[in-house]
Amino acid sequence: MVTKNNAEVVVIGTGVVGVLIAEQLLDAGISVLMLEAGPRVSRAEIVENFRNAPLGLKGDTSVSYPPAPWAPHPTGPTGGAHDYLQLSGPDSYAQTYIRYAGGSTWHWAGTSWRLTPEDMRLKSLYGVGRDWAFDYDTLDPFYTRAEYKLGICGPSNPEQQWPRRARLKPYPMPPLPFSPGETRFTQIVKELGYNNIPVSQARNSGMPYDDRPACCANNNCVPVCPVGAKYDAATALGRLEAKGAKILADAVVYKVETNGQNRIEAVHYLDPNKQSHRVAGKLFVIAANGLETPKLLLMSKDDRNPNGIANRSDQVGRNMMDHPQLTLTVTTKEPFWSGVGPVVNSGIMETSQGAFRSEHAGAYFRYNNFARNRFVTFAALKKGLVGKALDEEIRRMTACTADIVAAHEILPHPDNRLTLSDKTDWLGLPKPSIHYDVGDYVRRSAEVYSLPIGKKIAAAMGATDVKISPKFAQSKHIMGGTIMGADAMNSVVDTDCRSHDHDNLFLPGGGAMASTACGNSTITMAALALRSADAIVSQMKGAH
């Protein structure tokens, strides 16, 4: 075992959360070593993987990202790591994420809805779930910083902003143009009393930003933006290195080591040759995402921490959350036309709020703007048409079908739990096992609220056919497994995402979120990361 000790702060994971923190520390003159489980892969190679994938597989976001044997991430049935997540329970916590340098924002859509003040006070306002340990105003400046760091575009008209309250600063860039389908959808839902507003999104709008080019409508944000107009954390790695960060790829951290004071002394990683290495440091940040972070903590149990690191509360790996979603695939008489501009570009957020939240979940509705050829071509061909009739059918099905997605909030529940499976991966490390039930709060919403609204929208669109997904799918927003709270007995981290149990261990990101709301949550993870970074800087400078 080799001991390496060459940085004050060791950051595990080079996803958006790890990268944001690392850069703040580097800017404050603190040395940083980043350990990244996966390989470092070029954008060109990922784009090539996408283009060379069979049409029938292009909808599987993991196809462009074949996992390294030592850093498996969940894939579709043919991707080689289909059973990496061991799933049980009435609903399936089938996530996807990417274990490559740069992490899962490689294939995120970039949708960046903030929480509302109410979203952070579910217990006090509606008697359900948990309140956050601080209020919206505390988070607000960090949201603004995160939006400037990632480059979020959004509307300047306050009526079109989310949440509807004064912003500290305008968005750094204006909103992007709508596709014909988005324009039509916006008009139609307006007649029903709903506002479909431009999404705040991590995409360069009309101008370069952050040394990245302007979006030019490649409509491929998921699984990969070919030009880097969408923020992804991989775009920051070179800059971090220029600022002095050391980034070690193919380094799978498998153990967190404590010392006699129960502080973190070192972490251990395996390389692709299955050799173990030890890395010491003064302070440690685990930013391996909402699923791999709790897994690593549970894997690292020792005599002082028999339930796992940071787990005196027994809450590590519990309260696993996401945004359970249902899709309505509608066929319309008139053409809508999606597939111009980014893949998600607008949404109805106001349906996520209301007094009904004491009874059931809210929901956010979005009109997916993916080019639809890949979804309809096989079905059109199956009809056996040829010539003009075939051309017309493909064109009709591409233009006259649309996916409306209802994404729900979910409450933290201790039984929605990640544990270590007795099955192991290529390195011999335990696979994550997750038990999941979306719960009555979500099911009731689908029954009495979200699906009725969705059907009303579909009818107003002139739908001749509506297919509703039979089960809740995951939105890939992994939250809750290292939950934040003021009480060390029922939460894992404090308001800075510092472990209650180990004062030199930070666990920032989605795991800390105490409520999910309905909107995609990475911008909240990013805001929490910046808040952690400030706390780490002052702690390292001796103020803590």
Binding site: F50, G56, P66, P177, N220, W337, L381, G387, A399
Partner: protein, 198 residues
Amino acid sequence: MGGFLQAHFDDENATRRQLSEAKMKLPVSRRRLLIGSAAMAVGYVALSTSPAFPAAPAAAASGEALNAKFMRLSNLLINHRLSPAVGARIAEGAAADHKDMAAMMDQIIAIAEQKQARVVEDFFEDIPAGPAKEFAHWVIFAWYSGVSSPKPDAKVFTFEEALTFQTTSDVVTIPSYGLSGPNLWSQATVPLSQMPRF
């Protein structure tokens, strides 16, 4: 990046391997280009009822003859301009799966010629149900979808040249290929009836 991914692809991503093999095996010779464009002109402009290649060069490799015949067939089955390079990849994929491909092509072409077909609608109904008709459907499938089947292990012949995208090229992006300049893609809706020419 490390050698792993390359090795990984070579071992596991058959599609990718087949694609690169196809590329390697099919250097575009000048003659092929000429034959290809001849086939294209015949197919698109006139869909001539006279045999496209009355005197295929005697020295032509059987692969080339097969490709030429395949393009002739494709131009009968599809009323659009077709890329000979894509055609060559589809032909190779077809030959691997259909041993009696040459005979089926002859059969279908003969029916079209007999009907003096100008477009596929003129003769498709006349192809009797059975292997030749299934093959004709498959050829159309391959050109429109760019793949050999809807399955995950399908052979990939093309992505961006798959004809499905041509039917909507006036509005819809081919994913990963930029459509316009920064924020210049606002556009009014277009009617279904305005089929792009391709």
